[in-house]
């Protein structure tokens, strides 16, 4: 049976770039444990020698012409939807 500790949840939150409150961490610890217990039943299934399926189109190596497609979107439109901009740049807090 999978046991998920509070540290595990904290670690998963960090991997997922989620800064959670203490209450959320408690709730998610319980939920994630329950969900993992449910999906664990899959280990009963014998899959030896079975190839995994990653996609279901049967398409392979879909090529397109090496030409520029006009998406009809301008730089100004993209800057307009950024939460914070400075002239022609998107502004973020200091990184280093």
């Amino acid at each position: 049976m999978t046991q998920i500790s509070r540290d595990d949840v904290q670690h998963l939150a960090q991997l997922s770039s989620l800064q959670l409150s203490d209450k959320e961490l408690d709730d998610l610890q319980k939920d994630i444990e329950n969900i993992l217990r449910y999906v664990e039943q899959l280990s009963e299934l014998d899959t030896s020698g079975v190839e995994p399926t990653y996609q279901v189109t049967d398409l392979e190596n879909v090529f397109r012409d090496d030409t520029v497609i006009d998406y009809g979107v301008t730089r100004e439109q993209l800057l307009e939807i950024a939460p914070d901009r400075l002239e022609n740049s998107v502004r973020v807090p200091k990184v280093l």
């Binding site: 991997l15 997922s16 329950n34 449910y38 899959l42 996609q55 950024a82 973020v92 200091k94």
Partner: protein, 460 residues
């Protein structure tokens, strides 16, 4: 209920403007269902006038429709029912919306959904749930709940939805309308908020199978902006007589609501009367498909939702002190709990050390599921069963237990994982008056055969 051809007659005898104004008025009068998050009134009326002046033409000239609010469309924000995208005004439109507009259709509004389409009841919307069209104390189903309800309330003759594990079929069943999840790759997903890319498909809600055929025919086809689209194979066909149909016995188990089973058996009787053969078949791996789904889909979600970083678009937390706080708080504030659950489950099953036991095992099990389907399709044209084990459940009934909520998807996820086309069509109601849908599953690219069959049953 109103069909597309009824609407076209109304446009011919009055005007596109009148028809679009009526649809918008009806949407406003039914605001208490909370099926719509926004109306695109100004743009809709401008386009209606252009239809009336002859500047816009096409197979759907002037016909109003609604899109689920995870489709990028002009005239209102595309929120995905989340705080993350609450104020996101898309700079482009989804290919499916563009194709419908090219045929003159008029989008009048954007429908409620579970935030980022994560859910089966529309209760995970950051802006509150949608009420069922037949009983306001019950859920609309989900995640495309709003789209199903606007169709069922006759506000518009069709609405678009997305289906990753049942998100079109389940709400269609709960609200007594037709819902089609086409073969994976039929319709371009460009411009639709991605959830789980190996099962996400675009489809529609309509009041008849005929209309589903019309709308899907317009949306289908290759798009260089979505490299998973199949070459257009979709064209209407005549119904094949004397089909061999398999009723999936695992979908008719003891724990399935007896009235749901009664309605399915009624439909089976009608199929037999129409000259088709119906036999019980078994898909034993069904008991594992939900476990596969809730490994594969969260894995893909955790990856697809990585793009919401609060930098380029979407919600950014107020005055972050560092870059990691910007990411962490923006995502915490922008996502609902179900989004976080799925992202974190995805992070777990993809982490080194757990990858083989969960993700790889699920993808191998998926192959076994596809093999079982292929075996059945050697002998049967179509597989049928319920869409959901119950009619629409009560609002709040399953919200405290995520696993219980997931169990409602048990009959819809198999077709999603295998990329098969599947329909939900109305099969009658319970004694209480709640709609029950029947699900028809076909081989890949047999979408038009499925619709031909349900069309013949509607006309029977």
């Amino acid at each position: 209920m109103t069909t597309i051809s009824d609407i076209k007659s109304a446009i011919a005898s009055s005007s596109a403007r009148k028809v679009v104004e009526d649809a918008i008025e009806k949407a406003k009068n039914n605001a208490s269902y909370h099926a719509l998050l926004s109306l695109t009134e100004e743009r809709a009326l401008e386009r209606a006038d252009k239809v009336d002046s002859g500047d816009i033409k096409g197979k759907l000239a002037g016909v109003p429709f609604v899109v689920k609010d995870n489709f990028l469309a002009f005239g209102a924000p595309t929120t995905a029912a989340s705080i993350m995208l609450e104020n996101f005004n898309a700079p482009l439109q989804a290919t499916s919306v563009e194709k419908l507009e090219a045929e003159g259709a008029i989008c009048i509004g954007k429908a409620n959904l579970d935030a980022f389409a994560h859910g089966g009841s529309t209760e995970n919307s950051a802006f509150g749930p949608t009420m069922n069209a037949y009983d306001v104390t019950r859920v609309a189903g989900g995640s495309s709940g709003g789209s199903a309800v606007v169709t069922a309330l006759d506000i518009v003759p069709f609405a678009l939805g997305s289906d990753t594990g049942g998100s079109i079929r389940e709400p269609a069943s709960f609200n007594g309308v037709v819902g089609i999840k086409p073969t994976y790759g039929t319709v371009s997903r460009y411009g639709v908020v991605a959830m789980a890319s190996s099962t996400d498909v675009i489809g529609a809600f309509t009041t008849t199978s005929q209309d589903a055929e019309l709308v899907l025919g317009i949306m289908a086809g290759t798009d260089v902006r979505d490299m998973t689209t199949l070459p257009d194979f979709f064209s209407p066909v005549d119904v094949k007589p004397h089909q061999k149909i398999g009723l999936i016995k695992e979908f008719m188990a003891d724990d399935v609501d007896s009235e749901v089973k009664d309605r399915i058996n009624d439909y089976v009787a009608k199929l037999r009367q129409a000259g088709h053969t119906v036999e019980e078949v078994s898909l034993p791996i069904v008991k594992y498909t939900l476990a596969m789904y809730y490994i594969i889909v969260p894995a893909e979600i955790s990856s697809n939702l990585g793009r919401y970083d609060g930098i380029r678009y979407g919600h950014r937390t107020n005055k972050p002190q560092s870059l990691s706080e910007l990411y962490g708080k923006s995502r915490d504030e922008g996502f609902v709990t179900e989004n976080k659950r799925r992202i974190m489950i995805g992070s777990y099953v993809l982490s080194s050390g757990f990858f083989d036991a969960y993700y790889l095992q699920a993808q191998k099990a998926r192959t076994l599921l596809i093999n079982e389907f292929n075996e059945l399709f050697k002998a049967y044209d179509v597989l049928i069963g319920p869409v959901s084990p119950t009619p629409a459940f009560k609002l709040g009934e399953n919200t405290s237990d995520p696993v219980k909520m997931y169990l409602a998807d048990i009959m819809t996820v198999p077709a999603s994982l295998a990329g098969l086309p599947a329909l939900s069509v109305p099969a009658g109601t319970t004694k209480e008056g709640l709609p029950v849908g029947i699900q028809l599953i076909g081989q890949r690219r047999s979408d038009s055969q499925l619709l031909a069959l349900t069309k013949s049953m509607e006309n029977a």
